[in-house]
Symmetry: C2
Subunit: 338 residues, 2 copies
């Protein structure tokens, strides 16, 4: 089968930073499904893994954590899917990714694709939906289907127009929260409001000051989706006592946790891969979340965050997608279709 | 009325580090109760506030956040208590404390004292019970009365024999958890096991190694009650993926939060004063918690953690109590009775 990978961590300008190669189609055993890939999406994590590291891989490393495809074979323990099912999934951090013709994925990380939605639109969803869902409904313990519980609650989503921000804004809005999202350009402000943000502020200026101008002293929840180091002091200032902070981006510098002490505020990391990386019994919840996301898409209660669709899955198109992510200003998701 | 206070932050050897003085009995208004103090307990926070600071106070500052006493007057909005009620409470961080003959306290922070228990035993309980309760049942979201939910769960309590550790061990045991508490001396090990710890390890040696020797790879919950800086790396190593960490002691150095990232672990501060300091609507929960603690004491399901009882509430006896706390090796609680 065809695949795209790399052996060394290189800048995009280097020919070998991502290259096409051939390898054998893997075999499905146990809980694994063998998927024929139809569309994939690219996330900041792809760029981060491609760039960071000093290893040289003998077999090229295949990235990719977002796919829509067809089940073509199943291991003996598979019970949730059948051949020919159209599915979508993000997969595991430590296994070969979706930048290939075929891929193995544990069925407990997979959902049935929603009906009546474009394959490209579906491929945009899994990684960001899982991240946003786990952040809001597991870590922050919000209730999706009880909007009355959340109607007096405010969430600040830092980086509302990115991949995770675009779906987190929709889910928080659906859950009945007052959503303040950060966005700084006319097109990101429009995109974010289109997802249900009630108000926007600019995270490149003082966020507490802008919150005050909107009439808020502080907020109940903060979802940090970029530069936790740079925003930390303001996050600590803006969070309500006993409030909850979730961050998906790793800190580069030590964070002064003491700033949260008198408020007894809670800080939670969200890393979508934790359940599969540690093979936790809760792995099955990723199947359940994706089934719910599919239903919300079918019902039109949320919409896909796909924003750019590129034809072809190969080293050239993947490099183009990585280049877009590296600008740090892409809106929504970038999808590649076969 | 008589009170004990200080004007400057001084070492205990200094005469004026704590001194007796006279002041007017305050008047109860609003939600305040005026309490005639019968017994008080001393906590590490008393020593910390006495030692740290550079201010000079014109009116002496009165410490003390644990009391058992009698309601002698009530503000016009009081609805939970009547005159002559025997009550117990920790109170607020930013108001004059219990090292006095009389004290004002907001009724929402107060519980009815349990019947049939010694006043000294009661005075030992409020601050540590509130801290342990909020840590286990609010921050970690454990269920007290559903032990079957917790029977496969393990909690590590670092500093099991201290004030908070002594009650947290009892409550975690009552909730059905497997409790591993740290204790290093024969007398603290015995004290801790007497409160329901299933096993003890020594936090002055490698905790992960000792956990492994007990057959545990990691634990579901960690309650950090001393030296969060010194224990941070081991805490990050010992916590389960998606596990919950609560700390009550402030860090002195930045903590490397990134160590928790791949595990998506949660970190929560617990500061018992947060609800009253920020005048949160949840203040009333401290009344409710103390009522539940009183019932557990009356039913004999938990026991008081009072360990040393000193006669008389004055500068001399308070200095003796502070000196004991400053050894950093006191077991359970130190109580002063009128």
């Amino acid at each position: 089968m065809k695949a795209v990978g790399f052996k060394k961590h290189l800048m995009l300008e280097e020919e070998e930073s991502l290259f096409n190669f051939e390898q054998a189609i893997p075999e499905a055993t146990g809980h694994d499904l063998l998927i024929k890939i139809e569309a994939i999406a690219v996330n900041p994590i792809d760029v981060s893994v491609r760039l960071n590291g000093t290893e040289t891989y003998e077999t090229p490393k295949v990235l990719g954590w977002d796919a829509c495809g067809i089940v073509v074979a199943a291991g003996s323990e598979v019970s949730l899917f059948e051949e020919d099912d159209l599915v979508f999934y993000a997969g595991a951090f430590d296994r070969p990714g979706s930048n290939a013709e075929y891929q193995l994925v544990d069925e407990r990380l997979v959902g049935h694709a929603p009906h009546g939605i474009d394959i490209a639109e579906i491929a945009a969803m899994p990684l960001t939906s899982l991240t946003a869902w786990e952040s809001l409904f597991e870590k922050m313990r919000l209730e999706l289907e009880e909007p009355s519980l959340n109607q007096d609650k405010t969430i600040l989503i830092i980086n509302g127009a990115g991949g995770v921000g675009s779906i987190a804004t929709q889910l928080a809005h659906l859950a009945g929260l007052h959503v303040i999202a950060t966005a700084s350009r006319p097109e990101t402000i429009a995109w974010t409001k289109g997802h249900g943000a009630d108000q926007t502020i600019n995270h490149r200026r003082s966020m507490p000051k802008q919150l005050h101008e909107l009439g808020y002293e502080n907020v109940d929840y903060i979802l940090g989706l970029n530069d936790i180091d740079g925003h930390w002091k303001e996050i600590a200032e803006m969070i309500k006592p006993n409030g909850r902070i979730v961050s998906i981006t790793r800190n580069e510098q030590p964070l002064d946790l003491g700033l949260l002490k008198s408020k007894s505020a809670e800080f939670m990391w969200e890393w979508m891969y934790t359940k599969s990386y540690y093979q936790l019994p809760e792995m099955i919840t990723q199947h359940e979340i994706l089934e719910k996301i599919a239903a919300l898409l079918e019902q039109g209660r949320i919409k896909s965050t796909a924003n750019q669709i590129i034809d072809g899955i190969n080293a050239e198109t993947l490099k183009a997608a990585h280049a877009l992510i590296e600008t740090n200003s892409s809106i929504g998701k970038i999808v590649l279709c076969k």
